[in-house]
């Protein structure tokens, strides 16, 4: 049972309104790898992310987590998954601290110091008691990204995590992803941003290329 976790996808086909987004997609993602899904707008990047996370059930094909179909053990898969979609999932009437408390509280109990540490890392220390509606779009995104520093989950599925983040923040985030991958994690992400990482486990998957 001490097998390293990995994600394998085979024959994944998804169509929307009789338009095939991707067909017979096969790939694997192993420990230590960062997979960037790229492609033009409308190529199905977000759909692919949602399908793999288990939000969208409208697809054909097989998704395995550690050689086991994800349908067989969804709670097990979800407890090792951290998903971040287009909407950051930050409650505007709550403070950053409260937001992290509940968002990560589904996975494990947190101490106040841990949360403050994570907010420090995304440069929101001092804002922990400010309701999120008073924060900027980038700061709200950072509240969501602070989850990455608290997460114990292995598999990160991040859909456009760099949206509204400044240049310095993007560089730090790239480093965070590399750190996670090199310490035994798996990252799957979409972005239009040129990833500036020098890391052996970095791969790209391009969707929407004409055959």
């Amino acid at each position: 049972m001490s097998q390293l976790p990995f994600l394998s996808v085979s024959g994944l086909t998804c169509e929307r309104d009789e338009r095939i987004l991707f067909e017979s997609l096969d790939f694997t993602l192993s420990v230590g790898e960062i997979l960037q899904v790229s492609g033009p707008n409308g190529a199905g990047k977000t759909t692919l992310m949602r399908v793999i996370a288990g939000l969208s059930l409208d697809f054909r094909g097989q998704i395995n987590w550690c050689n086991q179909p994800v349908e067989d053990d969804r709670p097990g898969f979800q407890s090792s998954l951290l998903y971040m979609g287009h909407q950051p999932g930050v409650k505007s009437t709550m403070t950053p601290e409260e937001n992290l408390q509940w968002a990560m509280g589904l996975h494990r109990s947190l101490t106040r110091e841990e949360i403050w540490g994570a907010l420090e890392k995304v440069k929101l220390r001092g804002y922990e008691d400010v309701p999120c509606y008073q924060l900027s779009a980038g700061q709200n995104r950072r509240v969501a990204l602070a989850r990455l520093f608290l997460a114990k989950q292995k598999l990160w599925i991040l859909d456009e995590p760099f949206t509204a983040i400044d240049k310095l923040g993007v560089a730090e985030l790239e480093q965070t992803l590399v750190d996670h991958a090199s310490s035994g994690g798996l990252v799957m992400m979409t972005t239009h941003h040129e990833m500036n990482v020098d890391y052996s486990g970095f791969r790209q998957l391009v969707l929407g290329e004409k055959q």
Binding site: A53, G54, L55, S56, L57, D58, P75, Q78, S79, L81, Y83, G85, H86, Q87, P88, G89, V90, K91, S92, T93, M94, E98, Q101, W102, A103, G105, L106, H107, R108, S109
Partner: protein, 225 residues
């Protein structure tokens, strides 16, 4: 991390949010009082008429107030992406759904039940009927929340889900309404009303057993679409 702890996190969060948006908390209660107050103005203040329709008016007002608060059950979570986070947590979705329904009942159904004796006295219902009113609402309002949540889950992805939600759930509220008002009528005419209460208990047990599964299925459909 145990499952029950995750459910407590969701329950605490929802109650916390409800008390932060006080307007949403108080509006259904004011609506409840207002609707019930309109009836005597419409049909006239004849005590005998009010005595006959009092129980029904209280129940219909409670039902509409419950429906008013229903639309917001999943909507804000859907719009800011929190619902996806809740769905992808390690807890089974039906438990999360149950936590949300409990918090919804605590902020609407329970206050409505506690307010109902005031309305009952306003309608001139006999004091002996008060326990029946509170008891039928206490058993009936959780069921309204459970049924409504199925509709709320189905319509959360739609831009104008509010009216569709009413059309979907109001017919399903009918059995709850009939049994609830039947119990009050029996109590007003000084008959035994424990039978009605037991039927409500039966419906509530059925609701608690099956509605969470239906709610989680309806949420999956909405999110997947």
């Amino acid at each position: 991390m145990s499952v029950s702890q995750g459910v407590m996190v969701v329950l605490r969060r929802d109650l916390h949010l409800a008390f932060r948006n006080r307007g949403d908390l108080i509006n259904p209660l004011i609506f409840f009082m207002l609707v019930a107050t309109l009836f005597p103005l419409g049909v006239g203040p004849d005590p005998d008429t009010l005595l006959v329709m009092g129980g029904g008016v209280i129940w219909v007002s409670a039902l509409l107030a419950n429906l008013l608060a229903m639309d917001s059950l999943f909507r804000s979570d859907f719009e800011d992406g929190s619902l996806e986070q809740l769905m992808l947590g390690p807890q089974p979705l039906w438990m999360i759904a149950m936590a949300k329904v409990i918090s919804h009942w605590l902020v609407t159904g329970l206050p409505l039940t506690l307010l109902s004796p005031v309305l009952a006295i306003m309608f001139g219902l006999p004091v002996t009927a008060l326990p029946a009113i509170v008891a039928t609402l206490l058993l009936g309002t959780p069921l309204l929340s459970l049924i409504g949540a199925i509709g709320a889950g189905l319509t959360v992805g739609l831009r104008k889900g509010g009216i569709l939600l009413s059309l979907l759930t109001l017919p399903l509220y009918i059995p709850v309404l009939i049994i609830g008002t039947g119990g009050i009528d029996a109590a007003v005419s000084e008959m035994v009303w424990s039978g009605h209460l037991m039927w409500q208990g039966v419906l509530l047990v059925l609701g608690v057993t099956f509605a969470p599964l239906a709610i989680s299925a309806s949420l999956r459909v909405s999110i997947s679409g």
